[in-house]
């Protein structure tokens, strides 16, 4: 590939999403980036940074929790030209699981943002890519999607839902020229996980970004970062429930 010229980042303030955009711009000028976030002003600093690297930048309003608006956002982003890469990078961790245990309304809000929002925005993105006959939808999933943990099963199940949705969307796009790339990172220290102790097999936004750029050139559909997680989870997924429940992860 190597010729990504227009990128849409849904969740324009996501630290991982921003790292991916930086990596896509590496050594290139003239790339057009659309940053979509709840408050477009909050992308200002990042937008200036990108302009400093020779990109042109547009900031749009986007709320994952407002599915009715998703068509308009994606169409607006695509109005200026074909989108080579669309990244779905937003997400919320939600309150600690022990609090959510007693707060079903907040728990369902996490699912709304992380899962339902991905479904509607993902369908809109796929529509545009299918029309173009090319382009990649990059979804930030998580290893948490592989098997939900007692410690954060609302978040985990919301990521699992969106991961499963994206796998199906990928299949629906076969033959259209468009594709879906699902990234499954391990723990990353970002503002989402601020104050939390890094897990074993943690990674960084930069490592995820590098893996994404590499995967965009190839044909992989699901990528674990770090790569060892793929092997690890192939085992963990099949551990007996009693053992899994007690694992200190």
């Amino acid at each position: 590939m190597g010729n990504v010229q227009r990128v849409l980042l849904l969740g324009g303030t996501s630290e991982i999403g921003q790292a991916i955009v930086r990596a896509l711009l590496q050594g290139r000028s003239g790339v057009h980036v659309v940053l979509a976030s709840r408050n477009p002003d909050s992308c200002g600093a990042f937008a200036s940074e990108l302009r400093g690297r020779g990109a042109s930048v547009e900031c749009l309003a986007f709320d994952a929790d407002d599915p009715g608006s998703h068509r308009g956002v994606v169409d607006l982003a695509a109005a200026g030209g074909d989108l080579d890469v669309i990244i779905t990078a937003w997400g919320v961790l939600g309150a600690p699981q022990c609090a959510l245990d007693a707060d079903p309304v907040s728990a369902s809000a996490v699912v709304q943002t992380n899962f339902a929002g991905v479904v509607s925005a993902g369908l809109e993105a796929a529509r545009v890519l299918r029309q173009q006959g090319h382009g990649t939808l990059v979804h930030l999933s998580s290893v948490a999607a592989e098997r939900t943990r007692r410690a954060n099963f609302v978040y985990g199940s919301s990521k699992a839902g969106s991961d499963a949705f994206m796998q199906g969307l990928a299949d629906s796009l076969v033959g259209s020229g468009a594709r879906v790339l699902v990234m499954r990172p391990g723990f990353v220290s970002t503002k989402m996980t601020a104050g939390m102790k890094p897990h074993p097999f943690s990674t960084t936004p930069e490592a995820i970004a590098a893996a994404t750029v590499k995967a965009l050139r190839g044909t992989a559909t699901t990528v674990w970062v770090p790569g060892v997680l793929r092997v690890l989870f192939a085992v963990l997924r099949h551990l007996p429930r009693v053992v899994w429940r007690r694992l200190p992860i």
Partner: protein, 452 residues
């Protein structure tokens, strides 16, 4: 009609379109009538390297215009747009005629030659393809078929030559062929020690030959920078070829490249070895060597699908021209590429002669350099982006038929007549029926210069 994944010859940036082959004018009119916002594009043999012959999400048509009419007396030929140069050369030679411009492969169509306004090793003497055209028969966006001549509608004529298929679908053209006595060329060869040697030889001796070109050792640095092998040739007169069939022409059996070539087969090491070998095997000087047409003009055609040698990631062709007087930029570019380790398998230098009136025609008086490198190379994008910026500063440009990576910001700087070309397109195709991945990527049909 079927959904197909198309790429250019470089095999990068694929996209999927509804492809219809063997389209007659009536069906073409119907396709144009049904076109949606993603538009329609004609495609030839897909030998453009980048995304010029792709139209993702839209319609792609290959026309069924296969006839060749030769008037042996006047040397004027009418050729259908889907006729390949292989077929054309085979049809012309028995009459003692040859194509006035021959690119580095015979596997391109007449339509592709017009849309890219192709050039050959004789550009300094004869100009590009457009210079030899008498008229074009084309279908416009409206479905109307029109004969376009440089006298009756110079704007549309010259917007179509080099217009990358965006003004309409060419059905056929008339051109003036070149008279030859034989199907052989007489080739003189020199090996040069450095860039000055290569360039001065070409500048001094160009005028004496119809065909000239230099192959450059892309990895030689320091004092050897720009060393290469210069070949100059003319069509052989009958007296030079005491042959039973002076106009004979046959395609040699060709070998193929296996489908699953490992990605790194053409890498820095093998390319360096190849460059060294090619340089060493060339004579220091040799004169009047008799070569066949394929051997001299289309050496790569001997290996079918040679682009697969670059593996799954594909290859990137980069061809630019700098005006006379900007030789410093050429030297800096060759230096930068050698330093960046941009191991190019085939690097070719040529001195262009005068330009024609094509609004987006690539050649103009100056030096053109062509290289192909595997896309995986790290730092390549930055290197070429930097080169693009320099080109805009010195009044140079890249060749759209080979491009897959130019930023839209540089298009108007490289092609100063872009606005006039756009105006002609607006006149004949106000609804933007004709589109391609290239045109969208570079914003070619964008209205006015109001880019954001």
């Amino acid at each position: 009609m079927s959904l197909s994944r198309l790429t250019g010859w470089g095999r990068t940036a694929p996209s999927v379109a509804e492809v219809t082959v063997d389209v007659d004018p009536q069906s073409l009119r119907a396709v144009l009538g049904e076109a949606d916002a993603r538009g329609v594009l004609a495609r030839g043999l897909g030998r453009s390297y980048g995304d010029a012959a792709q139209n993702g999400g839209g319609r792609v048509v290959c026309v069924a215009e296969h006839t060749v009419d030769v008037d042996a007396v006047s040397g004027v030929v009418r050729a259908g747009a889907s006729v390949s140069f292989d077929e054309l050369i085979s049809a012309l030679l028995p009459h003692g005629l040859f194509v006035p411009v021959s690119p580095g492969t015979r596997r391109i169509t007449v339509g592709g030659a017009i849309a890219a306004d192709i050039h050959g090793k004789n550009h300094h003497a004869d100009g590009s393809w457009g210079a030899h055209l008498l008229d074009l028969e084309m279908m416009l966006a409206s479905g109307e078929i029109r004969i376009v001549t440089p006298l009756a509608d110079p704007e549309l004529f010259w917007a179509t030559i080099g217009g990358m298929g965006l003004t309409g679908v060419v059905l056929s053209c008339r051109f003036r062929a070149l008279r030859v006595e034989t199907s052989r060329v007489l080739v003189d060869t020199w090996r040069t020690n450095d860039l000055d040697g290569t360039m001065s030889l070409m500048a001094e001796r160009d005028a004496d030959y119809r065909y000239t070109v230099a192959w450059i050792d892309s990895l030689a640095t320091g004092g050897r920078l720009g060393r290469g092998v210069v070949t100059m040739a003319d069509h052989a007169p009958a007296s030079a070829v005491p042959d039973v069939s002076p106009l004979g022409f046959s395609d040699r059996a060709r070998i193929g490249v296996p489908r699953l070539v490992p990605s790194g087969l053409l890498n820095g090491l093998t390319v360096r070895a190849f460059n060294e070998l090619w340089y060493r095997k060339s004579p220091v000087q040799r004169t009047a060597e008799v070569q066949g047409i394929g051997e001299f003009f289309h050496p790569l055609d001997m290996i079918r699908d040679w682009n697969r040698l670059y593996g799954r990631q594909g290859m990137l062709q980069y061809q630019f021209v700098v005006p006379l007087g900007a030789e410093g930029t050429l030297r800096a570019a060759i230096e930068g590429l050698a330093r960046g380790g941009a191991a190019s398998f085939l690097t070719v230098l040529k001195r262009f002669g005068s330009a024609n009136d094509g609004y987006l025609s690539f050649p103009f008086p100056g030096w053109t350099l062509t290289l192909d490198v595997p896309t995986g190379l790290s730092g390549l994008s930055a290197l070429l982006d930097g080169l693009d910026r320099t080109l805009v500063e010195v009044g140079g440009r890249v060749y759209l038929a080979k491009d897959s990576r130019l930023s839209p910001d540089h298009l108007a700087g490289m092609y100063p007549r872009l606005e006039q070309w756009r105006a002609v397109c607006e006149r004949v195709d106000p609804d933007h029926r004709f589109q391609s991945d290239l045109s969208r990527r570079l914003g070619m049909r964008r209205r006015s210069a109001a880019s954001t």
